[in-house]
């Protein structure tokens, strides 16, 4: 039986400062992250002791220097939020990791809440800059000059499913899901074939099939084995091949179909004849073909389009859920998956309300037609970038959403609530509530631990190796019967 697909996303934002010739991304990121203020005054460390980004899922440990900042730097670069998220500086980008959720609808809510938190901090930080300058942030993945920054999805998996099994089935799925996960990009980069417009921001950057690296020679499947949970029982599949999506519909389908596929892998429900001969080549072939008609070479000699392959996965998914008592969100994912593949088979441009790369392409084409522009024009490049602009009044996705020109799947009220409310059904609830209730005593946090510094007592670390424990149902009683952190620690021991 597949285990529940606890999930979350990590989004790195593009950052620049308008009218600042001396723009320094790192100091701007530090300013940005620290401009976001919550009610609590806590100075909370990110607990790097629990992290191991150099462990490889294929069973070895890679040599390398593990990054551990000093205490002051740690606090300046890391913010753990009352909604259970982490907002921090990663290299030269602001990054938002949403709290753990149990379903894709909540994922949309929390990823979108992240956008609003980052935008709030942008406004605050801009106030601290000289007049005339402004921090600008983009939820995209490329500067179109060969530099990419990430959008990572995380899915909890059963450790008993071998990494080899995952790779075997996931590779083709990830290459072909681009037809509905792409955020769209004008042109190509990183020595890929020239093109006018492609489905994804990231395909040009993938150079190998399976590896540990995420920054150079990027792999389609990343082997980082850092479960942030009981490593005897779980793995955290770290999917680095996706784009940052603006469309709620796209986020829901992207992660919903992927989570379902991973459950099918755990349950051995996938056929084995969809392996691609050359996934690294195919990922670019799919991305560079807005007609979605190009055939890919399979290992078994057959040729199929990405949409045909996705149709096979959908059929297997339908079979998989038959007779199972599936939840409403999964049902919705299947309906959307069906709808999207149907449109892609007829004419991808039918998806100009649902799927990011099509929404953006239709927008650009309308603009080009009326203005007499071509794909090489600077204004077209600007449209591409500004689609991802976080400012509600300037971002083109936001403009379309405001006019009801894109499909929504969650409400603004749900998103706003998630700015300060953790999900109720994962350990993020306990993390967020501890920050709300005992901010002065929370000493350090990581995904799978929280530690308390109470008076002169030694630091006490509470381990949270089970992502589904620490939910409201589990800990509400404990929290209400613990007015202080001291009570909490005592009650936990009892």
């Amino acid at each position: 039986m597949a285990i529940p697909k606890v999930m979350g996303t990590e989004i790195e934002y593009g950052i620049t400062v308008k009218n600042d010739r001396d723009f320094d991304p790192i100091s701007s990121c530090v300013l940005l992250v620290n401009a976001y203020r919550e009610d609590h005054p806590g100075r909370i460390l990110w607990d790097y002791d629990q992290e191991n980004p150099l462990a490889d899922a294929r069973g070895f440990q890679v040599d390398g220097e593990k990054y551990t900042p000093n205490q002051q730097e740690n606090i300046a670069r890391n913010k753990t939020l009352v909604n259970g998220a982490r907002y921090y500086v990663d290299h030269a980008h602001p990054e938002y990791s949403c709290p753990e959720v149990t379903n894709v609808r909540d994922l949309v809510v929390h990823e979108k809440a992240g956008e609003r938190i980052v935008e709030l901090s942008r406004r605050e930080a801009t106030q601290l800059l000289p007049p005339g300058t402004e921090i600008l942030l983009y939820k995209n993945n490329s500067d179109r000059k060969g530099n990419s920054y990430g959008s990572h999805e995380n899915y909890l998996m059963d450790r008993r499913t071998s990494f080899k099994q995952i790779v075997e089935h996931l590779m083709t799925f990830l290459v072909t899901r681009q037809v509905f996960t792409g955020a769209g990009k004008v042109g190509s980069e990183n020595r890929a074939h020239p093109c006018r417009y492609q489905l994804t921001q990231r395909a040009d950057f993938f150079e190998t099939e399976v590896a540990l690296d995420t920054m150079v020679k990027r792999p389609i499947i990343n082997t980082r084995d850092e479960p942030h949970a009981d490593r005897e029982k779980y793995r955290r599949l770290h999917v680095i091949v996706g784009d940052s999506n603006m469309s709620e519909y796209t986020i829901l389908l992207r992660s919903g179909a992927t989570a379902l596929l991973l459950s099918m892998i755990e349950d051995g429900a996938l056929r084995r004849d969809l392996a691609l001969r050359d996934p690294v080549r195919s990922i670019k072939e799919v991305s560079h073909d807005p007609t979605c008609r190009r055939e890919l070479q399979l290992e078994n000699g057959k040729k199929l389009t990405a949409v045909q392959i996705q149709r096979e996965y959908l059929e297997m998914a339908h079979k998989y859920v038959t007779g199972k008592n599936i939840d409403a969100v999964t049902k919705d994912v299947l309906v959307k998956w069906e709808h999207v593949l149907g449109c892609l088979e007829r004419d991808p441009m039918e998806l100009s309300r649902e799927i990011d790369w099509v929404i953006k392409k239709a927008l650009i084409e309308s603009f080009m037609e009326r203005k007499g522009l071509d794909w090489e024009s600077a204004q077209v490049s600007m449209l591409d970038l500004q689609y991802h602009d976080l400012r509600p009044d300037k971002g083109l996705y936001h403009l379309l959403a405001r006019q009801g020109r894109v499909e929504r799947v969650v409400t603004d009220a749900e998103i706003d609530a998630a700015i300060t409310e953790p999900p109720a059904d994962t350990r993020a609830y306990f993390r967020g509530q501890c920050l709300k209730r005992y901010p002065a005593e929370v000493f350090g946090v990581n995904w799978d631990s929280i530690s308390f510094g109470i008076g002169s007592e030694p630091i006490k670390r509470v381990l949270m190796g089970e992502p589904l424990k620490g939910s409201k149902a589990h800990v509400e009683g404990l929290l209400t019967s613990s007015p202080t952190a001291r009570d909490l620690v005592r009650n936990l021991r009892a």
């Binding site: 309906v335 449109c343 309308s366 037609e369």
Partner: protein
């Protein structure tokens, strides 16, 4: 933001309006005209918010690789 042709088409699987197959040519022309005006308005609105000096802006947008 779809062009005229796309937005006229009935929405499949969604909750869009029903098909316009029974409509007269005159009605369709009117609808087409309205859609065209709507698109023109959208393009104007984009024009207003689109970053000025696009060429320089896009050229200067350089990021360090991340992840």
């Amino acid at each position: 933001m779809a062009d005229t042709k796309q937005t006229q088409k009935p929405k499949k699987g969604g909750d869009g309006e029903g098909s316009g197959s029974g409509e007269s040519g005159q009605k369709l022309a009117k609808k087409g005209e309205a859609l065209k005006e709507e698109m023109d308005a959208l393009v104007d609105e984009i024009d207003e918010v689109l970053e000025e000096n696009a060429e320089e802006f896009v050229k200067n947008y350089v990021q360090r690789g991340g992840e």
